[in-house]
């Protein structure tokens, strides 16, 4: 291992430690908000694999999140899903549905990658945009209603008190005693804190995987496709393989994020994953920096907290959307590299960074 890589690993471990200590210093409510930041971070990582690294625009990642979220929701709440005679019921442990959700969304993304092979640039943006707009209608479709719950959606934890404190009434004093939640043998004081740890554990693992995947041959191939498909193909990069792979990986991340979002809101309906979600994901990637990894945290923070800040400035409806739009355009015009680009410029400005040539 080179010295720079050791430093990187050290920084990663420090960041991970900070992430795990954070709930000790913030309120329960903030813990929930930061759990959402983790969820968006995962989704942004996935979108950036596709858009930032491979150069394929997706305006429809909310749809892949919806696929993941609904997979989890259907598996957790007993929707009578039968596969080969075996009925999945509420015996399924909640968190094991997360990788399954990612897998289902990933397969969907991989399959969508095939028609997408023939679509470039604007046409791909168009097709993915149409998917995101069409998704709620598809979920509401009455033939699927027994499966997806139609417009009413699915309540994830209705059947049992799992991941919520079980409450029993003391027979003598008639006081309610709530038992702490136990997950994997650990007692966690509140649902929000449990959610925080769940989301960030997954997020850190997914981040490490993305980093490992993109630093080597795969990452180089994807970047080559982004910069010039023709040049990449003539250098021996198999366009079809890598593009569909990028779609699959990207959708896997989106599916995992969607699944976590479903668990976080404990409820899914067609409006959990609106078209605006897909658009906000794109905003997050642009703010964090196209083709960057860890600066996407800033994008995720931006998506989560901007609506709250905007509401403090103006209570009127639509204020967050206007602020989002203005910032999106300003970032594109003034600092196309997002936060990542800004940091790189700062690094160049400091003399040490300058002499190292970066």
């Amino acid at each position: 291992m080179k010295r720079s890589e050791l430093i990187r690993a050290g920084v990663f471990l420090l960041a991970a430690a900070a992430v795990f200590l954070l709930p000790r210093f913030i309120s329960d409510f903030r813990a929930q908000e930061f759990a959402y930041v983790g969820i968006y971070f995962i989704a942004l990582l996935g979108l950036n694999v596709l858009t930032g690294f491979t150069g394929q625009i997706s305006l429809g990642h909310g749809a892949f999140m919806a696929i993941g979220g609904y997979t989890t929701a259907i598996l957790i709440s007993d929707q009578g899903l039968k596969l080969g005679g075996h009925t999945f019921s509420s015996d399924m442990k909640d968190i094991w549905t997360i990788p399954l959700a990612g897998l289902v969304a990933g397969i969907a993304g991989f399959l969508f990658g095939f028609p997408a092979l023939r679509l470039t640039g604007l046409y791909l943006a168009l097709a993915t945009f149409a998917i995101a707009v069409a998704m709620p209608g598809l979920i509401k479709y009455d033939r699927f209603e027994t499966f997806t719950g139609g417009g009413g959606g699915i309540n994830l934890f209705e059947s049992e008190g799992r991941t919520r404190p079980t409450e029993t009434t003391d027979p003598i004093t008639f006081e309610t005693i709530s038992e702490p939640i136990k997950i994997l043998g650990l007692e966690i004081p509140s649902f929000n804190e449990w959610l925080y740890y769940l989301c960030w554990t997954v997020a850190l693992v997914m981040f490490a995987v993305a980093w490992a995947l993109l630093r080597g041959r795969t990452g180089r191939s994807l970047r080559a496709i982004r910069d010039s498909e023709l040049a990449a193909a003539s250098s021996g990069v198999n366009l079809a393989t890598y593009k569909t792979l990028a779609f699959g990986i990207s959708a896997f991340y989106a599916g995992v994020a969607g699944s976590l979002l479903a668990i976080a809101t404990t409820f899914v309906n067609p409006d959990t994953y609106p078209i605006t979600l897909s658009i906000f994901l794109l905003v997050g990637v642009v703010v964090g920096g196209l083709g960057s990894l860890w600066p996407l945290v800033f994008g995720a923070i931006f998506i989560q907290f901007l609506p709250l800040w905007a509401q403090e400035v103006s209570k009127a409806q639509g204020a967050p959307a206007v602020v989002y739009g203005v910032i999106l355009i300003l970032v594109m015009l003034a600092m196309p590299g997002g936060v990542a680009g800004l940091l790189r410029r700062l690094q160049v400005l400091t003399s040490r960074g300058y002499h190292r040539g970066r």
């Binding site: 858009t51 150069g55 625009i57 305006l59 028609p115 023939r118 679509l119 640039g121 604007l122 046409y123 943006a125 168009l126 097709a127 945009f129 149409a130 998917i131 707009v133 069409a134 209608g137 598809l138 509401k140 479709y141 009455d142 033939r143 023709l230 078209i275 658009i279 794109l282 905003v283 642009v286 196209l290 103006s314 009127a316 409806q317 639509g318 204020a319 967050p320 959307a321 206007v322 602020v323 989002y324 739009g325 203005v326 999106l328 355009i329 594109m332 015009l333 196309p336």
Partner: protein, 294 residues
């Protein structure tokens, strides 16, 4: 059989609206190679202007429409000069993201100014029906169809017989050569955006009476317009109109005669149209196949 014709007529009316918005998309794409994702939201916004002129300022309906069209033209020109011009040479990703930014701004502004409440919008046409040979034809539908048809005819004449029209076509075809013979290409592109915004405003005003006015009213229409433009060929104005009408009629007939396609599957069907056309015949039905030299 009466029902069939009724559905065809209704389909032609909704198809005419798709055609108007598709034409707006094609106009901009031909001139600048940009697909304006904000076309629908701009249309929605200008329709709100018409509404507020009628309801809050007591303007005569036709006068309000005229003022709205002028406003739409100004909006289109202004946007091109301020937001689109700086990114003329930027990548496709940049232009898509900027127009998505405009989507958010107009959608948010409409909510901010007029709230997300659903509002009734006055129709310029009587609410009666004509019955011809057992087929009930709504005058609203006929009016919508004729307005769009007239608009297309005017646009065609404008492009064909006026000096500005010629300059517009020239700068879309070959900007450098046009600049050499004295065409102000930058302004021609701005005028193109203005005309597209006017087309959008007409589509919005025609849509609002039936679906009611709210900030998300044009989102579905925009997808249909995308499908129409892709079906006809994204660079062909004639194709956009033909594609719009075909899509309108087709969706209505499928909705009536194919019983598993309910109202909630209309958008997925449009999506399917987009995908199939792009995969089978990427240039669309009326577009020219472009071969690119590297």
């Amino acid at each position: 059989m009466a029902e069939f014709f009724q559905q065809v007529v209704a389909g032609l009316a909704s198809g005419a609206i798709f055609a108007a918005l598709a034409l707006a998309l094609v106009l901009i794409h031909r001139a600048t190679g940009v697909i304006n994702f904000a076309q629908g939201e701009m249309a929605m916004f200008t329709t709100y202007i018409a509404w507020t002129l009628i309801e809050n300022h007591g303007l005569n309906m036709w006068l309000a429409f005229a003022v709205t069209l002028v406003f739409a033209f100004g909006l289109g020109v202004g946007l091109q000069r301020t937001v689109i011009r700086p990114i003329e040479r930027a990548s496709i990703l940049t232009t898509v993201i900027v127009t998505i930014g405009l989507v958010l701004i107009f959608n948010g502004l409409a909510g901010l100014i007029w709230s997300a409440e659903v509002r009734a919008f006055p129709s310029p046409f009587p609410n009666d029906t004509w019955v011809i040979g057992g087929v009930a034809i709504s005058q609203q539908d006929v009016g919508t169809f004729l307005v769009v048809l007239a608009l297309v005819a005017i646009l065609w004449a404008f492009f064909q017989f006026t000096k500005i029209g010629l300059a517009l076509r020239a700068s879309a075809l070959n900007p450098d050569a046009s600049r050499l013979v004295g065409v102000r290409v930058g302004w021609m592109l701005a005028i193109g955006w203005g005309l597209a915004a006017v087309l959008g405003a007409v589509a919005g005003i025609l849509t609002a009476p039936t679906v009611f006015l709210d900030p998300n009213m044009m989102q579905a229409v925009l997808i249909y317009a995308f499908a129409a433009a892709v079906l006809g060929g994204i660079d062909s104005p004639f194709g956009a109109v033909a594609g719009g009408l075909m899509l309108g009629v087709g969706l209505n007939l499928i909705g009536t005669y194919v019983d598993f396609v309910g109202a909630s599957l209309r958008l997925p069907v449009a999506l399917l149209v987009i995908l199939v056309v792009l995969l089978v015949k990427p240039a669309g039905l009326f577009g020219k196949t472009v071969t690119r030299r590297v």
